[in-house]
């Protein structure tokens, strides 16, 4: 079997396994969907200031929570998954077979990205008809590109963090501690418009605020042009740093 066919086999397997993992399904699919439904139902028509414009709440909140879904699938779940696989000797098992470790980890990463993109799609499938969230044909390609680049960056950082944590017991707290505080200052839960300048500067150091800004910016009413080159560049740089650390520090045994 060629490497491409083998990779395809394992990606398919990985997605099936994720689909059987109730924890991953709840956190990636159900929880973000409940957040969007609940908060959009409560204040979908309220106006908020985000990305320098005034817009309906659901129009701001749906893309922001979509990024949250992506982080859960490609970062948090991946860290826990890879650290657990290492602790339980799964990586050691794989290392003793002809399956290249790159193909195995690649299937983890691609499976995580596919799950994340699926969860984002689900959010929009619900929120567009239910809460009148508007998509713009002209910015849709940028939105998709942002999601794919974001998934790659988050997955690279996820494998890097999984390689740095000592054990699966440490993985969950560290995944949450590195994500939640940053999420509060990155415009996921409330817009950064009106936040103090120093806080925005701190947030801009990390990739998450740029991911939210690039993706959410595609859904600003009336916005039909512009490419978030700066935001995507910073996301890409973080992705490369993650990849470098992941390759350098990867461990197959606890």
């Amino acid at each position: 079997m060629s490497t491409v066919a083998l990779t395809g086999r394992w990606i398919g397997g990985r997605i099936r396994l994720t689909a059987r993992n109730p924890r991953a399904l709840v956190f990636t699919f159900a929880f973000p969907l409940i957040l969007v439904i609940l908060f959009s139902a409560l204040n979908g028509n309220a106006k908020v200031d985000a990305y320098g414009e005034s817009m309906r709440f659901a129009q701001f909140y749906t893309p922001a929570i979509a990024v949250f879904s992506l982080v859960t699938a490609c970062y948090t779940t991946l860290i826990l998954g890879v650290a657990t696989a290492r602790d339980q000797g799964l990586l050691k098992r794989v290392r003793g077979t002809p399956l290249p470790m790159g193909v195995y980890l690649g299937s983890w990463v691609t499976g995580a990205a596919a799950t994340g993109l699926g969860a984002v799609l689900l959010l929009f499938v619900v929120a567009v008809p239910a809460f009148g969230v508007k998509l713009h044909a002209s910015t849709l390609p940028t939105a998709v590109l942002t999601l794919v680049l974001g998934a790659a960056c988050l997955a690279a950082l996820g494998v890097a963090v999984a390689s740095l944590v000592k054990s699966a017991d440490q993985a969950m707290p560290i995944a949450q501690l590195t994500f939640l505080p940053i999420s509060f200052i990155s415009g996921i839960w409330f817009p950064l418009d009106g936040a103090p300048g120093w806080l925005v500067s701190v947030a801009h150091f990390f990739p998450l605020s740029h991911l939210v800004n690039a993706f959410g910016g595609c859904f600003v009413p009336g916005k039909t042009s512009g490419f978030p080159a700066h935001d995507l560049m910073i996301v890409a740089i973080w992705g490369l740093v993650g990849l470098y650390v992941a390759v350098r520090r990867f461990r197959w045994e606890p």
Partner: protein, 297 residues
Amino acid sequence: MTMDSLDAVRVRGLRKRYGDLTALDGVDLNVARGEVLALLGPNGAGKTTLVEILEGHRRADDGFASVLGYDPGKRERAFRERIGIVLQEAGLDPAIKVREALELYGASYPSPRPAGELLELVGLGDRGEARAADLSGGQRRRLDLALGLVGDPELVFLDEPTTGFDPAARRQSWETIAALRSLGKAILLTTHYMEEAQYLADRVVVLAHGNVVAEGTPEELGRDDASVVSFRVVPDAPLPEGAIVERGVARWRTETPTRDLAPLLAWAAARDLELQFTVTRPTLEDVYLELTEEVAA
């Protein structure tokens, strides 16, 4: 290197240190093609280190190792296609199904064995759709064995294949492993159980403190010129020199049991006494304990 060699495993002067600890201190070892070799030794003897070097998981500090003609340290893909590793504890995704696991892991080998055939071989024929998490401990180990065989390997590493099994499950596994031998696979087996080595192995190698301290067939190792005689002491019975009496049982080691027992039997016959005695040859276990104690002392 893809040159075929006559031996499945050939090791000369293998050394490995972890800091101050010497794990392997110049080990020589051969496993012939189609041979079942049992590697015995107490915890810390270097068994795991030796096997992990041969599997390609670790590199030796010094010495020569060739597995199926490959340098295991290079971990070439062709090398990994021709060996099968059954670890004592190797993880598996809890949600993966038994047949699915065999097909997914089998996909990376050039000619994988069909899942159905493997499931029959290890006695999991009716569990193909079960998830790994729902298997009993014994079933899980049999799935591990099937996964080790999925690539139709020429050499199989079995790490303590029946540790923690009840006697019936152990017997069943032995039969499965014996069936592998009849397929002509070379097997390198580590174990703590002498019975297991006796039942399965063509040859036994005893490792202690990083050195090979004995090797031979189980019969050769178990054979010893001396027998052990023991009998329940009766008052005034004539005991031979060197007999040790403990809790009412006299025991001695002798190369001449018939000569030693003759006066005792004559004495008992004259008094119409029935003696409770046994004459045994040392078991592999006795020899093993003696060998590993000598080295420890």
